[in-house]
């Protein structure tokens, strides 16, 4: 398997990903899946600045669904990033990511989001997306950095229920 990390992180390519995960996983490229960004060249220029020498590929969600098997089989090691849980859910639909792990790394902003972990805020839609991924065979956990404690989806749902009630 050659997508070495699937991560939901609204900051996309930034220090935690490049230094924290990148130094350990040694990716050959970052794949950013986002419909808006893949149509915006100036934003791509900015995100590319943060990746060091590693290539960055931008893709729409539809294109990513077509190319996912190719990326999974490729010799190139990729870190796949999305800003939103909904984009990752679209990739996982139809069991395209059966048996894969999705890492939740950072969400703060967004309507109705409540703090679940210091780096993770979720709203009802996010939780539905995550549950849909789990139902499609994906192992969903939260962990900001490779050395940090891994938090399971069950624990996340429980603490969200507590913080929003």
């Amino acid at each position: 398997m050659s997508i070495v990390l699937y991560r939901v992180d609204e900051r996309l390519i930034h220090g935690q990903v490049v230094i924290g995960w990148g130094h350990q996983l040694r990716p050959d490229r970052y794949i950013v899946v986002d419909d808006e960004l893949s149509a915006s060249e100036w934003e791509q220029d900015l995100y590319r600045l943060g990746s060091g020498d590693v290539d960055v590929l931008f893709s729409t969600a539809d294109e990513a669904r077509d190319r996912l098997p190719e990326w999974q089989a490729s010799k190139l090691r990729s870190i796949l990033l999305t800003r939103e849980t909904s984009t990752m859910r679209r990739l996982a639909e139809g069991r395209l990511m059966d048996g894969e792990h999705v890492n939740l790394g950072g969400l703060r902003h967004g309507p109705g989001r409540a703090e679940v972990l210091t780096y993770l805020h979720l709203n009802d839609d996010d939780v539905r997306d995550l549950e849909a991924m789990a139902a499609a065979g994906v192992d969903v956990t939260a962990r900001d950095l490779p050395d940090a404690h891994k938090v399971s989806l069950e624990t996340l749902s429980k603490s969200r229920w507590k913080s929003s009630s």
Binding site: H14, G15, E43, D45, L49, G50, G52, R108
Partner: protein, 250 residues
């Protein structure tokens, strides 16, 4: 029709940017400092429209983070966008996209290369016999010429390029400058430590034990060093090893 940015509002934003961390907090980080820096410019643009002014201040109070010396890139670009009457959503997306690279480029260039570089330079001058307070003065001057120069360059580049500043930063290739600086600093550290070890009171008279220890350190550097910063680690440890060996044999 909106008024243009005045020179004094631009100058004031730059001067205020030195205080951009002045109300740093975990919630918005540089957010309030950013809004504080934008305030005179926002007043000159929206002063006659209270609602637009409120909205503008609020959007710049939001969470923002970057290296403090390079935050001026975002500040300059935000000034340009506001003066052009850009869509607030564009301003928001620009600030979201630019904070990551400005953080990592600045951390690498300033905290990992320029600050240790200027410090080691001052230490080397002290070792060469410069009085201590002179060495400290050299450090302060050298460090701050780079520091203020970087702030000024970043602010100007942001102001002239707006949201397209990514291309300009790519051309400036700050990452390559960072690597060069780190290489130079590593060499300087290696020479300084080597010279100290080989000199009076160093390893000159200590014999084989130290050479063996140095060789072990070199091997450890080779094995563990790649996790951090390999070329630099190897340069430092190799210089120490060679000079320790020379010292022991000589």
């Amino acid at each position: 029709m909106r008024r243009a940015l005045t020179r004094s509002a631009v100058a004031s934003a730059f001067m205020r940017s030195f205080l951009i961390q002045g109300s740093w907090n975990y919630h918005t980080m540089l957010g309030s400092g950013f809004a504080f820096s934008m305030l005179p410019a926002l007043k000159s643009l929206y002063g006659s429209e209270p609602d637009a002014m409120d909205a503008a201040v609020q959007r710049h109070l939001e969470h923002f983070n970057a290296h403090p010396y390079l935050a001026g890139v975002a500040l300059g670009a935000a000034l340009k966008l506001e003066a052009e009457g850009a869509d607030p959503e564009l301003v928001r997306r620009f600030k979201l996209a630019v904070r990551g690279p400005l953080g990592s480029l600045g951390d690498g260039l300033v905290w990992a290369a320029w600050l240790p570089g200027a410090s080691v330079l001052a230490l080397a001058l002290y070792w060469m016999g410069l009085p201590g307070w002179w060495a400290a003065a050299v450090f302060l001057v050298v460090y701050n010429v780079g520091h203020i120069g970087l702030r000024f360059w970043g602010f100007r580049v942001g102001l002239s390029e707006g949201q397209l500043v990514g291309r300009r930063l790519e051309r400036a290739n700050l990452a390559r400058w960072t690597e060069r600086l780190k290489g130079g600093v590593a060499l300087l550290v290696g020479l300084l430590v080597g010279a100290l070890l080989a000199g009076d009171g160093g390893l000159a008279a200590s014999g084989v034990l130290w050479t063996v220890l140095a060789a072990c350190a070199f091997l450890a550097g080779l094995i563990i060093g790649h996790r951090a910063w390999r070329p630099a680690a190897v340069t430092v440890v190799a210089a120490i090893t060679i000079l320790a060996a020379v010292g022991a044999l000589g």
